[in-house]
């Protein structure tokens, strides 16, 4: 291990604490020496020190592209972050199947779709379909899951109707292609509609997509959000653990009810 001070972590180039980073962006100005200067000024406003344009190029008249190397002297206290459980230990398929058998004792029902105008089913297919993604099978392949993949461009109303019909334990929504925050509109609408149906508390509501984060998901009223780098077993672990937890707490409360009598 290196002797990094976890209370004072900086970007690393080739020496500890050198703070070296690379940024690239376009400015809507004519390509010129003045434009390079402007790019460096922007980098300074980002809080970077000694910015140097190492490559710049005219994209078309009035638009210039820059690659800049600079030093970032800001640091973060990593110790503070470590305890906030960003890194979850995920289970593999067998362990998840065992968990469902032992703690839940029935298959979990999951309904998923790519909703709204999104025509891309790649995300939801990767999570739900048998073939999965990158060698990891999707939930359809798990013994403990019963899955319904409604595909792409599914209206929120159709997704909800299906979830109610099959008494889903979890709803998974995927938003792949998004621009100008369209995905946020689709995602919040689903939450609103579920609440209007009085069904929000009956299901685990999960969203996923390249621009979705767990933080964003929670902010929008979802139970969890999964993004880039997520594999089917991550989602499966989450659902199985949450459901096991739910089942346990129901058992505990009914036990208590018995005691109370």
């Amino acid at each position: 291990m290196n002797d990094v001070n976890l209370c004072d972590v900086k970007p690393y180039g080739d020496m500890l604490n050198d703070g070296l980073i690379q940024v690239s962006f376009t400015l809507p100005i004519e390509h010129s020496f003045a434009a390079n200067k402007a790019a460096e000024k922007i980098a300074e406003k980002m809080g970077l020190v000694s910015p140097e344009v190492i490559h710049s190029k005219e994209l078309t008249k009035g638009y210039s592209y820059f690659i800049i190397y600079a030093v970032c002297n800001h640091s973060i206290n990593f110790d503070e972050l470590k305890d906030q459980s960003f890194d979850i230990q995920y289970l593999d398929k067998t362990d998840i199947e065992d968990l469902i058998v032992q703690k839940i004792g029935r298959p979990l029902i999951v309904v998923g779709a790519s909703t709204g105008t999104d025509t891309h089913s790649v995300g939801i297919d990767a999570m739900l379909n048998l073939k999965g993604f990158d060698g990891e099978s999707g939930l359809e392949a798990y013994k403990g899951f019963l899955t319904y993949n409604l595909g792409s461009q599914v209206p929120n109303s159709v997704l909800i109707a299906k979830a109610l019909e099959v008494k889903a334990d979890a709803i998974m929504v995927s938003q792949t292609v998004t621009q100008q925050k369209l995905h946020i509109h689709n995602l919040t609408q689903l939450v609103d509609m579920l609440e209007a149906e009085g069904a929000r508390d009956d299901v685990l509501l999960i969203c996923g997509g390249s621009r979705v984060t767990n933080e964003l998901a929670k902010e929008l009223g979802y139970d969890a959000g999964f993004s880039r780098g997520c594999y089917p077993n991550h989602v499966a672990t989450y659902i199985a653990r949450e459901m096991a937890h739910k089942t346990e707490s129901i058992e505990i409360s009914s036990d208590m009810a018995v005691v109370g009598e």
């Binding site: 994209l59 105008t117 100008q180 390249s210």
Partner: protein, 524 residues
């Protein structure tokens, strides 16, 4: 031309024969049908355009009027032609009066059928002549500039605003792109109308409207004049308004259109009969005016991991080829689709990609095959994506594909930014130049990995096509032959827009374009 892959000629022939059978069965089935969108395309060709105060397009309102009065089976040509005879007004004025509620096409005395037909045919001929003249002048304009060598470099823009697309389009032109294709706003394919005017608020793309086409065309033409290089313009002739978009493209001088026969069925869940009827008319229009069409087989590997996917691509190319041929599209205007989508971790994946790309090239030597970049396995590591794109570019130039959609490093993260497109172009230019004649210099080892893979894909494709010839296209789609997607004949969007033709139905443009085949303008 059976070339580098040592393909079995009999198998190739069998593929073509089976595909022809599949296609002739489909065409027999859709022959007696038209659609709302085809009828709207007819009135657009006759000059009907504009929207009412609720932004409802005149072509839609006019066709709805005919439908509500029970006349749609006779075709709009019949009812509109009668109105022209009785009012002496051009179609646009008639549409205007109908929209404003000042005129009903059904309150007029009816002229003789033959007279209506004659009137409409002469009007349609006039429209075609005007458009032909326009296309000859476009052709002359393009010919002023140096010829553009293939592979044509095809680059997307997708900002949502036509004015930003202009900027992106110019950046593409500056950096060696040959074709600018403006991606449509997400879900436009499911609109059963074409939006109107210049638009600035699309999602994941910009609405295809006639005004947007005009704005892009004008800016690329101006750039061409200044820089002595012609720039081609492309859009998406697909979805529920496929025939209308074809007409709009012809009117505004587009060079290229995505126009797949099956894509809408598989990936937009549009009813298969609707799509197949629509694609025939749209392809007749594109074919007549020499607009290059691109097909969408590149999507299959994105939705299917099955080992038979490469074979299903070949089978689909065969079906698309024969559907296009029947619609009068010249081989040089058929950009049949394929993609570089094998997982980057597969050992010798490059050799399989090469074999598949070469196979399409060799099966359709007269067609400018349209080759698509890796996207499915691009995981946000833009440096790796850039590396994959380099090999993709090498396959493109080495197998002499006709049209290449460039790969962009930020593929799979978001709608690429302007500089991402330029980085993609720089990679393409580098490889296309650095390895320009590589393809001419190489042959493949007899029965080596590349030949073996191509041969086995072809033989599997011939089996798929033989089964399809027996079961028919509809049943085969239901059985997930393409992209592992299943659709049923009686399901899907847009079914309500399918119309059975009555005995007196006629579509003057369809008939005139068919009779005028020898004079077809071949623009590009």
């Amino acid at each position: 031309m059976i070339s580098k892959l040592n393909l079995d000629e009999k198998t190739v022939e069998l593929c073509h024969k089976s595909a022809q059978k599949v296609v002739s069965d489909v065409l027999r089935d859709v022959e007696g049908k038209t659609t709302f969108s085809i009828e709207r395309a007819i009135v657009r060709l006759l000059g009907v355009d504009g929207v009412n105060e609720f932004d409802h397009p005149y072509p839609n309102l006019l066709i709805e009027h005919v439908n509500e009065n029970g006349g749609i089976n006779d075709g709009v040509s019949y009812w509109l032609g009668n109105a022209v005879i009785h009012t002496g007004k051009p179609p646009q004025e008639i549409a205007d009066a109908v929209v404003k509620g000042e005129l009903s096409l059904f309150d007029l005395p009816m002229a003789e059928h033959a007279e209506i037909r004659e009137k409409m045919f002469s009007m349609a001929q006039e429209c075609l002549d005007t458009l032909k003249k326009f296309h000859v002048s476009r052709s002359k304009f393009a010919d002023k500039f140096p010829e553009i060598p293939q592979p044509y470099i095809y680059v997307l823009t997708a900002t949502g605003s036509v004015y930003e697309d202009v900027v992106h389009g110019l950046a593409v032109a500056e950096h060696g792109g040959d074709i600018v294709a403006v991606i449509r706003s997400t879900a436009q394919s499911l609109y059963d109308f074409v939006p109107y005017g210049a638009t600035e608020e699309g999602f994941g793309g910009t609405f295809a409207t006639q005004e947007n086409f005009r704005i892009m065309r004008k800016s690329l033409d101006e750039w061409a004049e200044k820089n002595n290089k012609y720039m081609m313009l492309s859009s998406f002739c697909s979805g529920l308004c496929m025939p209308e978009i074809a007409v709009m493209g012809v009117i505004e001088g587009l060079d290229n259109m995505v126009n797949d026969a099956l894509y809408g069925i598989l990936y937009r869940d549009i009813n298969m009969v609707r799509t197949l009827v629509d694609q025939q008319f749209s392809r007749k229009v594109n074919g007549f005016f020499g607009i290059t069409i691109n097909t969408g087989e590149d999507n299959y590997p994105r939705t299917s991991d099955s080992p038979s996917t490469p074979a299903s691509i070949v089978a689909s190319e065969m079906v698309n080829y024969h559907l296009a041929k029947n619609a009068g599209v010249a081989e040089k205007n058929m950009g049949l689709g394929n993609a570089f989508e094998i997982h980057p971790g597969v050992t010798n994946g490059f050799l399989y990609e090469w074999a598949q790309a070469q196979l399409t090239r060799d099966l359709f030597p007269g067609c400018p095959v349209k080759y698509m970049p890796p996207t499915k396995h691009m995981d946000g590591n833009l440096m790796r994506t850039h590396a994959c794109d380099t090999l993709f570019n090498l396959v493109t130039v080495g197998t002499q594909q006709g049209i290449q959609t460039i790969g962009v490093p930020t593929e799979g993260i978001f709608t690429p930014h302007i500089h991402d497109r330029v980085l993609g172009l720089e990679n393409t230019n580098y490889v296309f130049n650095f390895a320009k004649n590589f393809g001419d210099e190489i042959e493949f080892k007899q029965d080596g990995i590349i030949q073996g893979h191509a041969q086995s894909v072809l033989s599997e494709a011939s089996e798929i096509l033989m089964n399809m010839a027996e079961n028919g296209l509809y049943k085969s789609i239901e059985n997930r032959v393409f992209g592992n997607v299943s659709r049923r004949e009686d399901e899907g969007k847009g079914q309500e827009g399918i119309v059975d033709k009555s005995d007196i139905y006629f579509n003057p443009f369809e008939e005139l374009m068919k009779d005028d085949k020898d004079e077809r303008c071949q623009f590009m």
